[in-house]
């Protein structure tokens, strides 16, 4: 099925912290971006969302998110494990994943790039920089970069 390419691209954010989710949503609004922001709270929910299983069955036949913002430290299944699964799946690995985390640890940076993450960003401290980051992300991934064609 060919989708209407004017449907705004979905950004999927996985983060266990409700404050960070709220701030991201506000930053996106402040940046006046047209994208829809969906949230999941941990790695399990993330995989369920992407596989359209469990509570996310209705999402079948809807397009995949155009970008995944992934926090690393989450309960039940953390970002590193989820990243590994995503990049191992032939269908899911085409979705660009940007890690957005508080961890500055060098080994995290190395490991995630090893696993094939597209970018690694340390969560900005001030709200202003968060807004800027969202704007830049959207501009880069949705205007400059060519995303793979829409899939289900």
């Amino acid at each position: 099925m060919i989708e209407n390419s004017r449907t705004p691209i979905i950004i999927l954010m996985a983060d266990d912290d409700p404050d960070d989710r709220m701030l991201a949503k506000e930053a996106l609004e402040e940046a006046r971006l047209a994208n829809t922001l969906h949230f999941v709270e941990d790695g399990e929910q993330l995989m369920a969302y992407l596989y359209r299983s469990g509570p996310y069955v209705e999402l079948r036949n809807t397009p995949f998110p155009g970008l995944i913002l992934l926090d690393l430290n989450m309960p039940r299944k953390d970002g590193r494990e989820a990243l590994q699964e995503i990049k191992a799946d032939p269908l899911l690995r085409r979705i660009p994943v940007v890690v957005l985390t508080t961890s500055k640890a060098e080994e995290d940076i190395l490991r995630t790039y090893d696993l094939g993450v597209n970018s690694f960003i340390i969560k900005p401290v001030t709200f202003e920089s968060l807004v800027d980051t969202m704007k830049t992300l959207a501009k880069y991934w949705f205007e400059i970069v060519q995303l793979p064609p829409d899939q289900h």
Partner: protein
């Protein structure tokens, strides 16, 4: 009567000296001399009865005089000399024996054996051999003497005399053999005791080593737990702090104008406090990382390290118009990142605590072992195999009674409106210096300046790294 008894006891007991060897020889000589006195008495009395024409009394007195002289010599401290004279006298008498009695009797045999044994015990093995050698030469030599040199020949002397002389030689030999054997036994017992003592000492040392090992392991474990705690605490504390800062920032920018001035003031102070807390936590993390995130020791060129630090501090140097003079600095074994941190903290401090209206001037010098650094009124020379580095500034200085306090974590001498800072910098410096096996102290005069004195070992021994 009692006084005479005391004198007798004193006379009988051997003298003691500082060296154990000398005391032993003196004891032996003393016993031998008293044995000679005893034997001379017996012989003189016997001869007086058996052969008075030989006038044993005169010989006896001569011998007493000789022994007396030797005792005096010995007690004066000349033990070796007394021993030698005694052996010589005995040898002389034995040789007279040979001449008087002719070379065929066994008297000479025992006489010379006596002298040899005595010399061996008193003066050492080589002396014994020496005397034996001379005795043999002399005895064999008498075989070729013309007959009239031999004074009496066998027929001239009463049988009794010969018998008595033989007996005394034999007794003397027996006494000496006994002394020799007991001396040997004592030495063996001493050696055995020493061995037991040594074994006990080794066992004790092993026990102590084990205790030390266990203690070191416990200490290492405790340190690791503390570091883990410090790291986790700092790390986990940063997350809610970040929220406070972000939402405070959000509050200010989105709804700031809705707040009355007082409200805006409150939010501003809250933000400042949050920023301070962040700096404190970062400082604490850095402090805990001194021993948790380490690099192995390698040669570090201090001059290069300081040049790097100065380039990092370029902006600040420009701002305060600071000037840094560097003397010839050595290379030492250390953790390069920590060395950089150390000097960054110290030089940063010197720039920060400058006198108002006076541009900071910092002098960094190194001093070799034996030199006395010509700064801050120091008077102790640099210890061997160490370097001393002094960092002297012309800043505000401080009262030296705080010179230890400033190295404690979170200790400050100023409040935060006067000078910014967390009070962790110098504590980190001390921790770094101590990890390198060195010391750091501060000398200062308020209003004049401060000097930091770092002492480092030139070489690091492995196993000191914690």
């Amino acid at each position: 009567m009692k006084q005479m008894w005391i004198w007798l006891k004193r006379g009988l007991a051997p003298p003691t000296f500082e060296e154990e060897e000398t005391t032993r020889v003196a004891a032996l000589l003393n016993t031998t001399l008293w044995a000679v006195i005893g034997l001379t008495l017996i012989v003189s009395l016997s001869l007086q009865i058996a052969a008075p024409e030989l006038r044993p009394g005169r010989v006896g007195l001569t011998i007493f005089a000789l022994v007396g002289g030797l005792q005096l010599l010995m007690r004066r401290g000349q033990v070796k000399l007394a021993s030698f004279f005694f052996c010589l006298a005995l040898w002389g008498l034995s040789s007279v024996d040979v001449l008087v009695l002719g070379g065929e009797t066994t008297v000479a045999g025992t006489a010379y054996s006596l002298v040899t044994l005595l010399a061996g015990l008193l003066l050492g093995g080589r002396a014994g051999i020496g005397f034996a050698g001379v005795s043999v030469l002399f005895w064999l030599g008498t075989l070729y003497f013309p007959a009239d040199v031999v004074i009496f020949g066998e027929q001239g002397l009463p049988e009794a005399f010969v018998r008595i002389l033989q007996s005394t030689h034999l007794m003397f030999l027996a006494i000496l053999l006994h002394l020799a054997i007991s001396s040997m036994n004592r030495a063996l017992a001493r050696a055995h005791r020493n061995e037991l003592d040594l074994q006990a000492e080794v066992a004790e040392r092993k026990r102590t080593e084990l205790i030390m090992e266990r203690y070191a392991a416990r200490l290492a474990r405790s340190n690791r737990e503390l570091e883990d705690f410090a790291y986790v605490a700092s790390h986990d504390l940063q997350e809610p702090l970040r929220k406070i800062q972000t939402f405070g920032d959000r509050l200010q920018s989105k709804y700031g104008e809705l707040l009355p001035e007082q409200g805006q003031n409150y939010v501003a102070r809250m933000q400042q406090a949050a920023a301070r807390m962040r700096t404190l936590i970062e400082g604490l993390l850095a402090y805990s990382r001194v021993t948790s995130q380490t690099q192995p020791f390698q040669p570090v060129d201090l001059a290069q390290t300081i040049r790097n630090v100065l380039s990092d501090l370029e902006i600040r140097l420009d701002q305060v118009k600071g000037r840094v003079t560097i003397g010839t600095l050595p290379s030492l074994e250390g953790d390069p990142i920590q060395m950089r941190q150390l000097f960054q903290n110290l030089i940063g401090n010197a720039l920060k605590f400058h006198r108002p209206e006076v541009s900071p001037e910092i002098k960094i010098e190194a001093w070799e072992p034996g030199q006395v650094p010509s700064v801050a009124g120091l008077s102790e020379p640099v210890p061997a195999e160490h370097w001393q580095i002094t960092i002297a500034d012309n800043g505000i200085g401080f009262d030296e009674k705080y010179s230890e306090q400033i190295f404690q974590v979170f200790q400050r001498l100023h409040n935060r409106t006067e000078y910014e800072g967390t009070g962790v910098g110098l504590a980190t410096c001390r921790k770094i210096v101590e990890r390198h096996g060195g010391t750091i102290i501060a000398r200062s005069t308020p209003g004049v300046g401060t000097t930091f004195i770092l002492t480092f070992p030139q070489k690091q021994t492995t196993g000191d790294e914690i």
